[in-house]
Chain length 220, copies 2
């Protein structure tokens, strides 16, 4: 395994790109043995220099001019990203959105296993959704602590989200995947990623309406 050769902290933007490298390599690993940083860069719309620089934080990969062995690089990236093990997760909020997340086959396929879901609605508590038991919210902290769960998915409505996140953090969760549309707070040492497709769409309509404005003022 490659070893970190420096103690220089890895910039977060680099950490954000590593899963994209892994995803691209996963797509080709069954049919490609060796890939150059040029080819990998093209598939990711990054420069070869960027890819070499990103990977250089984690030691030496491949030999100059010979490209990367795809299977080896996949293994190294999985090692760096902590994906050689399965990660247990809990999900809070088993409503419509929560059920869709529990149903999302890519989580289990990628080594993320939701072991329990929690909901305040007594009519779903005690049932299973996509094979995952739905428990009472009052059991959340005890379950997280007992199972040593490090990752929580939050899919409750915004008014409940911060309280749920605080409870997850208090129980020992160190990473939150937040689907609730709000800017949630976590203490230092806890990671948070937001999934908000509406925000993503709204950051594109900015450009669409700029274009419309240009067309409006066009003399043709």
């Amino acid at each position: 395994m490659a070893r970190r050769t420096s103690q220089e902290p890895v910039p977060e933007v680099v950490v954000m790109r590593l899963p994209l490298y892994l995803r691209a390599l996963n797509h080709i690993e069954d049919r490609v043995d060796i890939i150059s940083s040029q080819e990998l860069g093209e598939s990711l719309q990054l420069t070869p220099a960027q890819i070499r620089k990103d990977l250089s934080y984690f030691g030496k990969f491949g030999k100059q001019g010979r490209g990367y062995n795809v299977k080896t690089l996949v293994q190294e990236l999985k090692h760096i990203l902590g994906l050689e093990r399965e990660w247990k997760m809990v999900l809070v909020g088993a409503g419509r959105l929560g059920r869709a997340i529990l149903d999302y086959a890519r989580f289990p396929r990628s080594g993320f296993k939701v072991v329990a879901a929690f909901d305040a609605d007594p009519s779903v508590v005690g049932k299973k959704v996509a094979g995952v038991p739905v428990l009472q919210v009052s059991e959340l902290s005890a379950t997280v602590a007992r199972e040593g769960i490090a990752i929580g998915i939050v899919s409750v409505p915004p008014p409940q989200a911060q309280q749920v996140i605080d409870e997850l953090v208090h129980a020992g969760v160190k990473a939150i995947l937040n689907y609730a549309p709000l800017a949630a707070r976590v203490p230092p040492g806890v990671k948070l990623r937001d999934i908000d497709p509406v925000v993503a769409a709204q950051s594109m309509t900015f450009y669409l309406s700029q274009e419309a404005a240009v067309e409006e003022f066009s003399p043709y």
Copy 2:
């Protein structure tokens, strides 16, 4: 309405933050009249200076020391982001993930209306999902062109995704919300945003496993 006072292009990171401002303001607009950049910054974990700088691209908002009128700022942000109108969208891929997206109530509530879904599976074509008709993929280009649709949602499996995106772009779509887990390509002038919760989760396990490694080597 505030007017762009300079022709300086707005950096994409600023455009990405504007929907977050709007989301935060939407949460409070019914109960707060005036908000300082300090308070808005706290709710978004940004500095007041950052917020003032971001908004300064679009003219003058609020008076020095008096804060922003929440309702006015909401209107201005909606104007800047092109959200004073409804945006029609098409969705391609009405499988499990596609159905969950069609079922996602925040799109229509935020002014995004999926007018048609497309799928290759004859058993779903002709049906409605969440009130949206599912049509044959062969009708995609004609529908996009006829309805003047600018935004496409892609929720097909990765092997089909690039082809679907090319077809959407060819038909006139200028913005793609891509749920397929691959690095898709779009020509200049077309915007693309990826929604990939697995990538988001994997960028957090990096930190979780760093922490585990530190604990392993701890002398306690």
